[in-house]
Symmetry: C2
C-alpha cells in the first residue's frame, strides 16, 4: 500500500516569503524542480498542474502571488479571491513541496524598474482587451523563472495566449525552463475552472456554460465541414447572443502559432473568446482540429 | 615551470556559433563559468575583463556579437570595427576557453519578439542621447545570461551607465549571474580604451585625451573643495571648449546610484561625458571621491 507521501496527499508545503528564502529552499532540494506559478484561489485546474509537476519532478514549487502588474482594472485586482490557508491545503494535497508566497514589495522591491515585453503575440485578443496585462505577466514570470531556476514550469491551456506568450519569452531569452501546457479542467456543465467563477452570482453561474456551448457549436460546424473563419466566429456569436447575461468582448478563430485571425481554416485553429457576465470576465478556448 | 596552458597564453578558444552549441559546450565545461560579453574589436580593456574572468572561473566564455539592436545609428553599426581572427587571437591570449560568435539570425531567430527594458536608470545620459540603446543592451544581455548560465559576467566601468542598468536588470529579474565591474584601461595619454578609437583620424586621436583631461580637471576642483554640481560640470565644459575638434554631447555630475544630476556633491558622484570628434563618439567617466 502506498504511503500518503507517495500518494502526494496531506503534504504541508514549506512556506517561503522572500526571494532569498526561496533560493535557499531550492538550493537544498532534489532536482529536477517543477514550478507552478499561480495567483492563488486554487481550484482543480491548479491542482491538475501541481499533480503533473509532482509526477515529473523531484521538487514542486507553487508560487501564489496576486500580481498587481498584470491587472489592468483596479477593481479586478482588489476583488480577486484570496485565501491563503485554503490554498496551502490545496497545494499540499496536490503534492507541492514549497509554497512561495511573497508580499508585493518582495517581488518588486524599492527601485525595481525592469520589464519584459513580448511583441506581436501579446497584441491581439487578451492583449488588446487588457492593456499592459501581458507585460505584467511576462515580467513576473521572468522573475519567477529566474528565482526558481526550475527545469519545468506548468501553465494551463485555458489561458492559451498567455501560454504562447510565456513560451515565446522563455525561448527568446534562452531561459532554461521548459514551459509545459496542461489541459483545461472543467466543471460538470462544461464551464472552465477559473478563480473568477467564485465571483459569479447564481444567475450568472447558471448562464456561464454558454461560453463552452459557443465553442462546441463552432467545433461542430467545423466537424461538419465549415472552413470559413468568419462563419465559425459567427456561429460562436450566435450562441452567445442567445444568453442575455453574456456580453462578448471578443470572439476569435485564429492561427494558433501567430494568433492572426483566419479567413479560412486550412490547418490548426484556435477558437477563443472573452465574455463578461456582469463584472466577471471569463475566457475559454478550443483548439481545432 | 608553468605550462603555457597554466599561464593562459596561446589558448585557442573553441568557437561556437549557435545557441545550442554554446549550451552543449558549457554542459561539459567545469564550473564556475565566467562570461565576458563583447562586440569584438577587442582591445586591452577587453583583455583585462577576460584575464579577470580567467582568474576567477574554471571556464571563460567570450561572446563576440555586434548587436544591431543597441545601435541607434545605422552608420555607427555599419562602421563598427570587425576582425574575427584578431579577436580570437586576443581572446585566446587573455585566457578565453570558448568564443561565442553567433550570426544575427541566431541571436534573434525568426519570430523573436521579446524585449527587456530598464526604466529610470536607462533614461538620462546615454539613454537620452541614444534612443533605444539600452533596450537593445538589456535584451541581448538577458539572452546571453540565459544562454551561458554563468556564475559571473564581466563589464567595464567605462560604460558606467550600462553597468548600472545591467546590474539592475539582473537583480530585478533574479538572474543568478553576478555582474562584476572592472576598472577602465587607458592609453598612455589617458584616453580610455575603446573599439571606436580605431576610427579616429590622426588629428582627432591627438585631440581625444581632452576627455580625460576634462574629467581630471573636475576631480582636481573637487579635491580643492568644490562641491557645486554645476561648477564641476562647468569645469569639464571649460576644458572641452579649449579643444575645437571636441563637441560635447552631455557633461554630467550625477548620483552614481540613480544618475540624477547633483546640485551639490555630498556623497559619491559620477562625473561622465559623451564627446564627439567628427563622427566618432567617445565616452568616459570618473567616480568621486
Amino acid at each position: 500500500m502506498a504511503s500518503s507521501a507517495e500518494l502526494g496527499a496531506d503534504r504541508v508545503p514549506r512556506v517561503v516569503r522572500t526571494r532569498a528564502d526561496l533560493r535557499d529552499a531550492l538550493a537544498s532540494s532534489p532536482r529536477p524542480v517543477g514550478l507552478v506559478p499561480t495567483m492563488g484561489a486554487l481550484h482543480q485546474g491548479h491542482a491538475s498542474l501541481i499533480s503533473r509537476a509532482r509526477a515529473e519532478n523531484a521538487t514542486v514549487v507553487v508560487s501564489i502571488f496576486v500580481n498587481p502588474r498584470q491587472f489592468n482594472e483596479a477593481a479586478d485586482f482588489a476583488g480577486y479571491p484570496r485565501d491563503e490557508a485554503a490554498d496551502l491545503a490545496a497545494a499540499g494535497a496536490a503534492g507541492a513541496d514549497v509554497a512561495f508566497i511573497p508580499p508585493v514589495e518582495e517581488m518588486y522591491p524599492a527601485g525595481f524598474q525592469t520589464s519584459v515585453r513580448v511583441g506581436a503575440l501579446a497584441e491581439p485578443l487578451e492583449g488588446a482587451a487588457r492593456p499592459g496585462h501581458f507585460e505584467g505577466v511576462t515580467t513576473v514570470v521572468a522573475v519567477l523563472f529566474g528565482l526558481a531556476g526550475a527545469e519545468r514550469a506548468y501553465f494551463g491551456q485555458k489561458d492559451a495566449q498567455q501560454l504562447l506568450v510565456v513560451r515565446r519569452m522563455a525561448a527568446d531569452l534562452a531561459i532554461p525552463t521548459e514551459v509545459v501546457a496542461c489541459p483545461i479542467v472543467r466543471e460538470a456543465d462544461g464551464l472552465a475552472m477559473s478563480s473568477r467563477n467564485a465571483l459569479l452570482s447564481p444567475g450568472q453561474r447558471a448562464a456561464a456554460p454558454v461560453v463552452r456551448r459557443a465553442l462546441l457549436a463552432a467545433r461542430e460546424a467545423f466537424d461538419d465541414g465549415e472552413r470559413g473563419g468568419e462563419a465559425l466566429r459567427d456561429r460562436m456569436r450566435g450562441v452567445l447572443a442567445g444568453e442575455p447575461l453574456a456580453v462578448p468582448e471578443y470572439v476569435s478563430c485564429a492561427d494558433p502559432a501567430t494568433l492572426a485571425e483566419l479567413g479560412r481554416v486550412e490547418g490548426p485553429a484556435l477558437l477563443s473568446m472573452a465574455v463578461r457576465l456582469g463584472s466577471v470576465r471569463l475566457i475559454d478556448n478550443e483548439l481545432l482540429p
